[in-house]
């Protein structure tokens, strides 16, 4: 469980990136943090594994105060997958890249071997195990970054803009991975501008604007509030728009494209 209590963060130059943010993220929950560029999403996420310590207020991750804990200790529990793969790949081979984190966290070699095999297999990277990570395509690099983090099996997985530069097939695969993680009881926190992707997971949505939380609730509820959508400059998910504008709207907005298809096909044939 993650507790953020009245957190304010000021940069060295005095700009306030977060202003009195209080949140609680429960274990096993899927949460999406959305908002404009500069709204404070990434700053908030960096508080979760201690990369940033709050100027005021307190962040506790599984009862550990982030001010008293090292990033390495917190990272073992909170795995962050950053946006730009080129900012972290450095090893000679894909295998070494995955094993790097496991070695840092002090796993025994036998466990490292097992975890490595699992990660390579699961993300379809086995054939590249001895290739240089720099030689992978953009999508493969993204997958590798996800594999790197999931290999050490953190309790909380934070994904910063995971869909950037991914085609529909890859997005669908990513959605499946997230669903699987949720089934296994993991906590998933997603930072994204991709409203369609966010909607397809039907998570709890936290909307941020100018360093503050302006809305927090179920996706359907948050996106239906025009003042929130306006203040944070969001685009409503297309499936929600469709659900609302149908002549005979469904009881609940369509959660994903498959639901919408089924509904439309049955209503046309009626």
């Amino acid at each position: 469980m993650i507790k953020i209590e009245s957190v304010t963060f000021k940069h060295q130059n005095g700009t306030v990136a977060l202003q009195n943010v209080s949140l609680e993220i429960r274990t096993g929950e899927a949460t999406a943090i959305v908002g404009e560029n500069g709204a404070g999403k990434t700053t908030l996420v960096k508080h979760l594994n201690g990369l940033i310590k709050p100027t005021e207020g307190k962040v506790t991750v599984f009862d550990l105060d982030t001010k008293q804990t090292t990033v390495a200790q917190l990272a073992r529990k909170v795995g962050v997958v950053f946006q730009n793969p080129d900012h972290q790949l450095f090893s000679e081979t894909v295998s070494d890249e995955i094993a790097f984190g496991l070695r840092n966290f002090g796993f025994p070699e036998s466990v490292i071997k097992k975890r490595l095999e699992w990660a390579l297999e699961f993300f379809g990277l086995t054939e590249y195990r001895d290739s240089s990570p720099m030689m992978l395509s953009g999508g493969e690099k993204k997958r590798l970054c996800l594999a790197i983090v999931l290999a050490w099996d953190p309790e909380v997985i934070v994904l910063d803009e995971p869909t950037v530069g991914q085609d529909l097939v890859q997005k669908e695969k990513l959605r499946e991975v997230i669903k699987m993680l949720l089934l296994r009881g993991k906590t998933v926190i997603l930072v994204s501008h991709d409203m369609e992707f966010v909607w397809s997971l039907q998570p709890r949505v936290i909307v941020m604007a100018k360093g503050r939380v302006v809305a927090d609730g179920a996706a359907a509820e948050v996106f239906s509030r025009p003042e929130v959508v306006g203040e944070a400059n969001l685009m409503k998910p297309q499936l929600l728009e469709l659900s609302v504008h149908l002549k005979n709207p469904p009881q609940k907005p369509f959660a994903d494209i498959y639901e919408a298809r089924q509904w439309l096909v049955s209503s046309v044939s009626r």
Partner: protein, 258 residues
């Protein structure tokens, strides 16, 4: 705390580099023609070289700081100068070790601070664009000007990259300050490799983007803006030259040492 120490490495790098990175501001110094500012920097350099007593070099340093106060950049300049002070102490100690007199060693140390301060004053108040115009005005080759200005422009970008890379690697459990001396040096590899790789990728992208925008199509490209000396630029320049002459006369003729 280990994590904190790691953070301090980056913060320290940014702290030092911020003493040379231009930021948009409005001040009497910023509004001068960049060539006048360059003249100031050269004059201060000459004065620092000619001044040969601790009092004289201290006065030059005070002039540098006073100009920085007028330019509203005193805080950052003093930061650079206090960082330089570390090297100045080294200069002092080494000179004394090789048998130079104390007074002479002190002059060398303060002179170093004054020279770095004067140079930093110019770079802190001159935007990369202005730097480009000044270099072109000196008729330096176009490619050289472009390479130099791009390098200056990319320093803040690289600093940002370095911070993000360190964040990413720390999030993978890397503890940079852990282990013995050799291990600590090895700990920099996960940061340096991505830093170099992203810099190379970025330079490739920049080259392609520049070529798509017809860079190099003509030998002498025209500029949107041209430097123009106004009355006050001439006047400030002339006054500074007069002050330089008077100071040189004082330093060399009235109060020479040795």
């Amino acid at each position: 705390m280990v994590g904190q120490q790691c953070f301090e490495v980056v913060a320290g790098m940014q702290w030092v580099s911020s003493g040379f990175i231009f930021r948009h501001m409005e001040s009497p110094v910023h509004s001068l023609d960049p060539r006048t500012r360059l003249l100031f920097a050269v004059e201060l350099f000459v004065l620092a070289l000619v001044a040969d007593s601790p009092l004289e070099v201290s006065i030059v340093s005070i002039v540098v700081v006073s100009l920085a106060i007028v330019a509203k950049i005193a805080k950052r300049l003093v930061r650079t100068m206090s960082f330089t002070a570390g090297f100045a102490v080294m200069i002092l100690v080494i000179n004394m070790l090789v048998g130079q007199p104390l007074v002479y060693s002190i002059v060398l140390a303060i002179r170093f601070i004054a020279i770095v301060g004067g140079t930093s004053l110019f770079f802190l108040t001159t935007s990369p664009d202005e730097l480009e115009y000044v270099m072109k005005w000196f008729r330096l080759p176009q490619d050289m000007v472009f390479a130099f200005v791009t390098a200056v422009r990319f320093v803040p970008v690289l600093m940002l990259d370095a911070t993000q890379i360190m964040d990413a690697q720390k999030s993978r459990g890397l503890e940079m300050q852990k282990g013995n001396f050799i291990k600590r040096i090895r700990n920099f590899i996960p940061v340096l490799v991505p830093l170099v790789v992203t810099a190379v990728i970025r330079s490739g992208e920049l080259a392609e983007a520049m070529e798509s925008r017809a860079y190099g199509a003509v030998k002498k490209p025209s500029s949107l803006y041209a430097l123009r000396m106004r009355k006050r630029d001439w006047a400030t320049g002339a006054i500074s030259v007069m002050l330089l002459v008077v100071s040189l006369y004082y330093f060399l003729v009235i109060a020479p040492i040795g």
